[in-house]
């Protein structure tokens, strides 16, 4: 009886683990450092049929200038956006430090397949952006 209980408990704990092992996860990360940058940049992310979950995490901070970030799905529809900006600080006012931070977190279940775009639109920006993409296969 004791062995049976141990077996049942073991199966109970190991079953989800085995299922989790079946679910392939694909992570990518990209970091950008912008220095007095005003050129628009597009980061493209391929979401393929084999993944059912697409999680996007964007961390950004800015010390000078402005920066807008837009997330566009393969049909061009905006799925999120934010912008951050500084008026003082940076190279011109090194004594006054002002940092502004923006973070974006979103998980898309059954996302549109194709090329997603993270559009970064800086204006004289001294900034850092990190994009982390997680795709999970069911």
């Amino acid at each position: 009886m004791k062995k049976l209980i141990i077996l049942v408990v073991s199966v109970f704990f190991l079953l989800p683990l085995s299922n989790a092992q079946d679910r392939a996860t694909f992570n990518t990360s990209r970091s950008l450092k912008l220095e007095n940058e005003s050129k628009e940049q597009h980061i493209s992310i391929d979401v393929s049929d084999e993944y059912d979950t697409f999680a996007l995490s964007i961390d950004s901070n800015i010390r000078e200038g402005k920066m807008s970030i837009e997330i566009l799905d393969p049909s061009g529809e905006k799925q999120g956006n934010f912008s951050i900006g500084c008026q003082v600080g940076g190279v011109n006012n090194p004594t006054t430090k002002e940092v502004v931070q923006g973070q974006f977190r979103k998980t898309f279940q059954n996302p549109k397949k194709g090329k997603w775009i993270v559009k970064i639109i800086p204006q004289n920006a001294n900034a850092q952006v990190q994009i982390i993409v997680t795709q999970v296969q069911n």
Binding site: E77, S83, Q87, E98, V100, F104, R105, K106, Q109
Partner: protein
């Protein structure tokens, strides 16, 4: 001290206290993990719906310390006279004050509507996501704002549908509900908030009449929020009758000009220019051909000399000639042609 004095003081205290509570302003009661979050609430003025997810120090107009009970308040003295959209956010201890987190378990902000005389009460329900379940009391437009957020939240459930068809149906249903809310809402900013949540940009080309009616309903709204919205909706304004008459007249004028030009070119030129002359002019012309002077013509026709000169000028003009010699040449050309 007599009991009458105590009662009197109590009455004064209670009335003072109730006055305090009924004062306009923004009053919050939040449960925050102060090990993670700084005990400060920041109030930002959102100048336009495009800036809902913008963050900069210049947008922050006030900050309030959160006390050990989780209470904080913003005085109404910095608030504008009319309704505006605001954002309250909290920052993590290690993050800068101007820090915006959108989505996820650390989402740190929410929106509200306030003005100088509004009294807004806010509290969270102690959820692990501090801004997930915000409960508004007091100023009614915020309760409406929350209802809109609840409708829009169904969009997240749409993404969990495995069937794209069902997912699209949920999405279009949610957007339709938001448009209906916008259509029936009596507060202009709340109404516009609902439209922005409905992603009107993609719906506008399919549903132009709705947006025309919406703009007509709020035609007297001159806030920045509506000015910005009008720029995004390229609905042609209905022009007055005078404009239409002017347009019609201009078209007629241009058409008339081209028609007359065409007729002038296409009609054959008069083969016998003498047909344009009056009877009297023909008489004068025949005498010119015979070499008679103006005076002789005057005597012959028994008219004054000035009348003859007038006839001669008219003949020159009609026949496009400049002298008696030209008149004779014209006569010779005509004879040769015949």
């Amino acid at each position: 001290m007599g009991y009458k004095k105590i009662i009197g003081l109590l009455v004064i205290f209670l009335s003072f206290n109730s006055n305090l509570k009924s004062e306009s302003g923004i009053y919050g009661q939040f449960q925050l993990d102060t090990a993670v979050w700084s005990p400060v609430a920041y109030l930002s003025l959102i100048p336009s719906f495009n800036d809902m997810y913008s963050m900069s120090h210049s947008m922050i107009i006030d900050q309030a310390t959160i006390d050990h009970t989780g209470s904080f308040s913003f005085s109404s003295r910095l608030l504008p006279e009319k309704d505006h959209l605001f954002r309250i956010h909290f920052s993590k201890r290690e993050d800068p004050a101007a820090s915006l987190i959108i989505g996820g378990k650390d989402e740190n902000h929410f929106f509200l509507i306030a003005n100088q005389s509004a009294r807004v009460l806010i509290r969270n329900d102690g959820d692990s996501v501090i801004t997930r379940e915000i409960i508004f009391e007091g100023y009614f437009p915020n309760i409406q704002l929350q209802q809109i957020n609840q409708i829009a939240a169904y969009l997240d459930s749409a993404s969990f549908e495995t069937s794209p068809v069902i997912s699209d149906l949920i999405r279009s249903g949610v957007f339709e509900n938001l448009r209906a809310y916008a259509d029936t809402c009596s507060n202009p900013i709340v109404s516009l908030y609902a439209l922005y949540k409905s992603r009107f940009e993609s719906n506008f080309p399919l549903n132009q009449q709705f947006y025309k009616n919406f703009l007509l309903k709020w035609k007297n709204e001159e806030t920045v929020y509506f000015e910005e919205f009008r720029k995004k909706i390229p609905v042609q304004k209905s022009r007055g009758l005078s404009f239409r008459i002017l347009l019609f007249g201009t078209i007629l004028f241009i058409a008339g000009f081209f028609v007359s030009l065409w007729l002038h070119k296409s009609w054959p030129k008069n083969q016998n220019p003498l047909k344009d002359l009056t009877v009297q002019e023909r008489k004068v012309f025949s005498m010119i051909r015979k070499g008679k002077t103006n005076k002789e013509i005057s005597e012959s026709l028994m008219v004054s000399l000035s009348t003859v000169k007038s006839h001669v000028n008219s003949i020159y003009s009609k026949l496009e000639i400049n002298s008696r010699k030209d008149a004779l040449n014209l006569f010779q050309q005509e004879n040769q042609a015949n």
